[in-house]
Symmetry: C2
Subunit: 345 residues, 2 copies
DNA sequence: CTTCGTGGATAAATCGGTTTATCGGTTGGT
DNA sequence: ACCAACCGATAAACCGATTTATCCACGAAG
């Protein structure tokens, strides 16, 4: 392992000063002859010079690094897309990303913020792995950007999914397909996820706008799991015919999976007998079901990009939390409603 | 934002030189009076000193950072556990991790290695998101550690899952449950995953050791998806009774999911009529199926830890690629074989 | 009385770049 | 002939820590 070639080596080989080399390689607007410029550049690549970013950073006080603090990367399948979004923008701008995982422990969080500050990161992104409201740690600089969470008691820039509009879009799809009795399968999770509430609000928005009645029997709460989704679906499908829903909108895909088992057990077919809508577009799940699950995608990649662009000041600061659109993913779990056994009118 | 407090500020406040402050805070073996030591330490915390790692790194030539190069973090649900393993060890040792995603493009890879070298990272971990054999980029230092991939043509330290032993363990479980006719559902993926071959070898190992015949009809290849797994299962279960398998071992969970749909379509029940074994222990899938899927877990977290410990020289270099054990996860998809309709003997 | 050793602390060099101020030389204007 | 402007290039300061070499004072030894 030969020692790293430095700027002094380039200077010596080119017969100029280190100053000149620095000016040339940084394209500083300075009066250096074209002849010298090309020679320095040629020699630099010839001898394989690559600058020591640590030394540069010390002087310039900018490191071209950002710190990404996340509460947990391991336990959610969405983390990757968010990281990818952040990372892609970083790479496009020749930034490097420090990744720190806190497991949600505030002591680790504080240590991480300290360590990142010590490393002189240019900015910090404070990410949550699901949409929630968080109080910023006192040590967090005000320039930090919140990703997939919104700050309580501070006005950090922030981006979260527009769950309300997403829920509305899902329900609109079902209405457009002809459904009039649409259930919402909620979660009993405690504390209640912000998203569960927003999606429910979206549901209400659309039903009201369409002039449809809100039937409390069609709002059921269950454990956040496939089994919970199955139980919810079974109870809904056992309602008397005239109150039974023809479509079910689930808090998320994980619960929606349970609908398939329930339909199977009741010898019903999706979407012929009941339409199903999920939320999250969970990879390797939603698209692999039979029939593939219609759902609303969480824009994790886009949110990651947004946060990083924000961190690099490439976006005007929003007046408040930025709501990222959740695109509807149309698959085969939605169809026209099955004719009601007792037809009214 | 007040300027970062530096070592000079501590020195001034304590009425000593910067040298003294440095010696005290680094616990250097030096003759400094206890009185001075405690005073310096007290003042340092009082005024909130935190060292500038950039400056320190420049001098010490060690940055306490490592670079983690991965081919893709977004598209696999396992990435998180691997990152978590790497990260936990990093944190325990007060290291920070640069995360770089290359999407498998060698140009990005080269740029990343250059950038990380410029940042003077102490070590590099070269990770793949699934078990494969890779040729190291020429620029990769020989001290780099391979994670979830083994090097071709170089002898970098490396860790991969012991897929062969994992496959053997799965099949052993099935044999222990009483099965004699066990199918292996392979993938047609091209290029063929290393793991598909190793798991198959594990299958053969066990059948041979148990003195059971190898029936080529029980080795089927299908597309790597739930649909592929379903087709494979259906073809297996339609074999004539005396050649039909009583248990199916799938290349991975994703394909094993198809067995549930197939069983349903054929009005068979898992595990009463057929036992099912997966591989990967894919989160939010294997455990959520009904019945929950018995499978073999990929030790991503442990491999991540191993790689980072290796990078920090906390492990003796292995003579060759380290094979990490894949633990068997017993769930409810395995039972005793259903009695063959035509009983012989 | 001089020399030596030692405890406590520090001045100065160093890491590898960037930035500022300055240099010598040539040209151009008056 | 003198000064200003400008060109091309560089010496030296600087970033904030660590590390080396050195300093002073004091007590013990010769």
């Amino acid at each position: 392992m030969t020692a790293q070639v430095g700027i002094a080596d380039v200077a010596a080989a080119a017969g100029v000063s280190r100053t000149t080399v620095s000016l040339v390689l940084n394209n500083a607007q300075s009066r250096i002859s074209d002849e010298t410029k090309t020679r320095v550049r040629r020699i630099a690549t010839e001898i394989g010079y690559s600058p020591n970013s640590v030394a540069r950073s010390l002087r310039t006080r900018r490191t071209r690094t950002i710190g990404l603090i996340s509460d947990r990367i391991a336990t959610t399948p969405f983390a990757g897309r968010m990281l990818a979004g952040v990372h892609d923008v970083a790479r496009e701008n020749e930034y490097l990303v420090f990744l720190v995982n806190t497991d949600g422990e505030s002591q680790i969080e504080r240590d991480a913020i300290r360590a990142l500050a010590g490393q002189q990161v240019d900015r910090v992104i404070y990410a949550s792995m699901w949409h929630q409201e968080l109080r910023a740690p006192a040590e967090l600089p005000s320039s930090a950007v919140f990703l997939d969470c919104r700050p309580i008691g501070s006005n950090h820039a922030a981006v979260v999914p527009d769950d309300r509009a997403g829920g509305a879009a899902a329900v609109s799809e079902l209405i457009a397909a002809g459904h009039r009795r649409i259930a919402y399968v909620d979660t009993t999770e405690n504390p209640r996820p912000v998203a569960a509430d927003l999606r429910w609000r979206g549901y209400l928005d659309v039903l009201k706008a369409a002039g449809l009645p809100i039937d409390p029997r069609l709002h059921v709460r269950e454990e956040l799991s496939a089994a919970g989704g199955r139980r919810a679906t079974e109870s809904l499908l056992r309602l008397p015919p005239h109150s039974r829903p023809t479509a079910v909108f689930f808090f998320n895909d994980r619960m929606a999976v349970g609908a398939y088992a329930a339909a199977n057990a009741l010898r019903l077919e999706i979407p012929r007998d009941v339409s199903v809508f999920g939320f999250d577009d969970q990879q390797l799940v939603a698209s692999e079901l039979d029939p593939p699950l219609s759902t609303v995608a969480l824009p994790h990649y886009e949110m990651g990009r947004w946060a990083m662009e924000m961190a690099l000041d490439q976006r005007p600061p929003p007046e408040s939390t930025y709501l990222m659109t959740c695109p509807v993913i149309r698959r085969a779990s939605v169809g026209p409603p099955s004719p009601s056994p007792t037809k009214t009118g």
